[in-house]
C-alpha cells in the first residue's frame, strides 16, 4: 500500500504550523530553487543548508531522523547521476575492476553534489507537507494566482489518489483471494509470466475505471454550473510578521549561495 498518511501534517501546533501557507509555499520553493542553483562541490554550503532543514524540523517538532529517512525515497531518481562518474573528464581516480571504466574525479564530485542537492530539496518539500494541510496548500496556490486549472489538477490528484489507492487495494485483494494453490504444491503454482499478465490486466482495469470516473466527475462539475472559469473566495491580506519569518530561512540560504559562488 502507498503510505498516504505521509500527506497529512503532524499534530503539533508550532510557529511553523501556524505560519501563513502562502509564505511557507514560497519559502519552500525558494529553498528548492536556491539549492538547485548551488554550484557543484560546495559541500560546506550543502551541510549548512542541511543544518537549516534540520533546524526547521526541530522548530516544527518533526523528527529530523524521519525527515532524512523519508527524503531517501528520492535516491532511485538521482541514480541517473551515477553515469557522470564514468563519463566525466580527467583526472581519473581509478578504473572499475571488471569493466575497466575510468572513475572521473570531477564526475564523482558532480554525482555526489546532485544526490545531496536532491535530498535537501526533498527535505524542504517534506517539511512543507509536514506542517501544512494539503487543502491549505491548495488555497495558498490559488491565492498566489497560480492558474486555476493547475490548482484544480493538483486538487483532483489529492482527492482521487486515496480512492485509486483503495481501488487498487480492492483489485489486488480480489486477485489474491482467488489465487488458491493446490495442496502440497510450492507457494505459487503459476509462472511469473502468468502473474505478470494478471497484474497487467489489473493495471488496465484501474486505468479504465479512472477514465470513467473522470467523465462522471466532469458531469458533476457541469451540473453545478462549472464553465471552466476558476472561482474562489478572495484571500485575506498577508500579515507582515509572517512575511518576516519566511524571509529568514530564504535569506540564510541565499547568502550561502552567494558565498559559495564567490569562493
Amino acid at each position: 500500500m502507498i503510505q498516504l498518511q505521509h500527506l497529512n501534517p503532524t499534530e503539533a501546533d508550532t510557529a511553523l504550523h501556524r505560519l501563513d501557507p502562502r509564505v511557507k509555499l514560497i519559502v519552500a520553493l525558494s529553498l528548492i530553487l536556491i539549492t538547485g542553483l548551488m554550484p557543484s562541490g560546495a559541500f560546506g554550503a550543502y551541510i549548512a543548508l542541511f543544518a537549516l532543514m534540520m533546524a526547521e524540523a526541530i522548530i516544527a517538532r518533526v523528527s529530523p531522523v524521519l525527515v532524512v529517512a523519508r527524503s531517501l525515497a528520492v535516491l532511485p531518481f538521482s541514480l541517473a547521476a551515477v553515469t557522470l562518474i564514468f563519463t566525466g573528464p580527467e583526472p581519473y581516480l581509478a578504473a572499475l575492476p571488471v569493466t575497466g571504466w575510468p572513475i572521473s574525479e570531477p564526475g564523482l564530485v558532480q554525482c555526489v553534489s546532485i544526490v545531496f542537492k536532491s535530498l535537501i530539496s526533498v527535505q524542504a518539500a517534506i517539511l512543507l507537507i509536514a506542517t501544512t494541510h494539503f487543502t491549505t496548500l491548495l488555497w495558498a496556490m490559488s491565492s498566489l494566482r497560480i492558474p486555476g486549472v493547475l490548482v484544480a489538477i493538483i486538487s483532483f490528484m489529492y482527492r482521487y489518489l486515496f480512492l485509486l489507492a483503495d481501488e487498487a487495494a480492492r483489485l489486488s485483494r480480489a486477485r489474491d483471494s482467488r489465487s488458491a494453490v493446490p495442496a502440497g504444491s510450492p507457494v505459487t503454482a503459476r509462472s511469473l509470466i502468468f502473474r505478470a499478465r494478471t497484474t497487467g490486466r489489473m493495471i488496465g482495469s484501474l486505468l479504465v475505471r479512472a477514465f470513467e470516473r473522470s467523465e462522471r466527475v466532469y458531469n458533476a462539475m457541469l451540473s453545478r454550473g462549472y464553465t471552466g472559469a476558476p472561482m474562489q473566495i478572495d484571500p485575506p491580506q498577508l500579515c507582515p510578521r509572517d512575511v518576516l519569518i519566511g524571509l529568514i530561512p530564504v535569506l540564510i540560504a541565499a547568502s550561502l549561495l552567494a558565498i559559495s559562488l564567490i569562493i
Binding site: 494539503f134 487543502t135 491548495l138 486538487s155 483532483f156 489529492y158 482527492r159 486515496f162 480512492l163 470516473r213 462522471r216 466527475v217 458531469n219 458533476a220 462539475m221 457541469l222 451540473s223 453545478r224 454550473g225 462549472y226 464553465t227 472559469a229 472561482m231 474562489q232 473566495i233 478572495d234
Partner: protein
C-alpha cells in the same frame, strides 16, 4: 414559475450505438414527488443526465420549468435542477467539504458573504454543520451522501433529481436520509430500487425497463400490482 419537468418522446443513443432511452415521455408537476424504478441498466441514470442538459436527446425534447433544454438556457436550468449523483465520490471532487458545498454558489457568482451563508445553511439542513472543514475522503458513505445533497441545496434548486439516494446505506443512515428527503418541499424525481422508500415518500411511480417507460401511475396502484412488479424484476415492499 412552474417547477416542472416535461420529457417528450426522448430517444437517446450512446456514441457506442447502445439505445439507452427509446421514446420516453414523462411529466412531473410542481412540488410533485415521482419515483423512477426499474432494473439495472434500464436507463434511469441516462434519463437523469438529460434533465440538466449534460446529455442531449438524439430525438425528442426536454423542458424544465417551461424552458427547453438548449445551450441558451443551460445556465438557468442547471441552477434550477439539483442533480445528485449515485456515487458521492463522483459528486464530491474537492478535498474539503466546504469547497464542494461552495462550488455551485461560487459559480453562480454570488458574493462571498452569501456563499458562506448558503454553505452553512445547506450543511445545517443535512445535519453536517460540524463537517465543513473535514476531508471528504474521511467521511462515511452516509455522511458523503448527505454532503452530496448539501452541494446542490446550496444552489437553492427548484427541482431535486436524486440517483439512488439510499443505495448502500445501513438502516440507520437510510432512515435518517429518508427523513431528510421527506422534509424537503420540492419537485423531486428519484431513481431507486428501494421500494419501501417509494412507498414512504412518493406519490407517483414510473417504471423504466429496457429503455422504455413500462408503467406510470399513483404509488398505491403500482405497488399493489404484483404481476406488473414481477414482470419488471421488482418486489413489493
Amino acid at each position: 414559475m412552474h417547477h416542472t419537468i416535461e420529457v417528450e418522446n426522448l430517444t437517446y443513443t450512446y456514441p457506442g450505438g447502445h439505445q439507452a432511452l427509446i421514446d420516453v415521455s414523462l411529466s412531473v408537476g410542481p412540488d410533485e414527488r415521482v419515483a423512477l424504478v426499474g432494473p439495472n441498466g434500464a436507463g434511469k441514470s441516462t434519463l437523469m443526465l438529460h434533465l440538466n442538459g449534460i446529455y442531449r436527446p438524439t430525438s425528442g425534447q426536454v423542458t424544465v420549468g417551461g424552458l427547453p433544454v438548449t445551450d441558451d438556457n443551460i445556465g438557468q436550468i442547471r441552477a434550477w435542477v439539483g442533480l445528485v449523483f449515485q456515487n458521492p465520490d463522483d459528486q464530491l471532487f474537492n478535498p474539503r467539504v466546504f469547497d464542494d458545498v461552495a462550488f455551485g454558489p461560487l459559480h453562480m457568482a454570488l458574493p462571498e458573504e452569501e456563499v458562506r451563508r448558503r454553505v452553512d445553511a445547506a450543511l445545517d439542513a443535512v445535519g453536517m454543520q460540524d463537517y465543513a472543514d473535514h476531508i471528504s475522503h474521511h467521511l462515511s458513505l452516509g455522511q458523503k451522501k448527505r454532503v452530496a445533497i448539501a452541494t446542490v441545496l446550496s444552489m437553492h434548486p427548484k427541482i431535486l433529481v436524486l440517483d439512488e439516494p439510499t443505495a448502500g446505506l445501513d438502516p440507520r443512515a437510510r432512515r435518517s436520509l429518508i427523513n431528510l428527503l421527506d422534509s424537503m418541499e420540492r419537485t423531486m424525481l428519484t431513481a431507486t430500487h428501494d421500494m419501501r422508500l417509494v412507498a414512504d415518500l412518493f406519490t407517483r411511480v414510473v417504471i423504466l425497463d429496457n429503455s422504455r417507460v413500462a408503467a406510470d401511475g399513483p404509488t398505491g396502484d403500482i405497488l399493489s400490482d404484483g404481476a406488473l412488479l414481477t414482470e419488471h424484476g421488482l418486489e413489493a415492499p
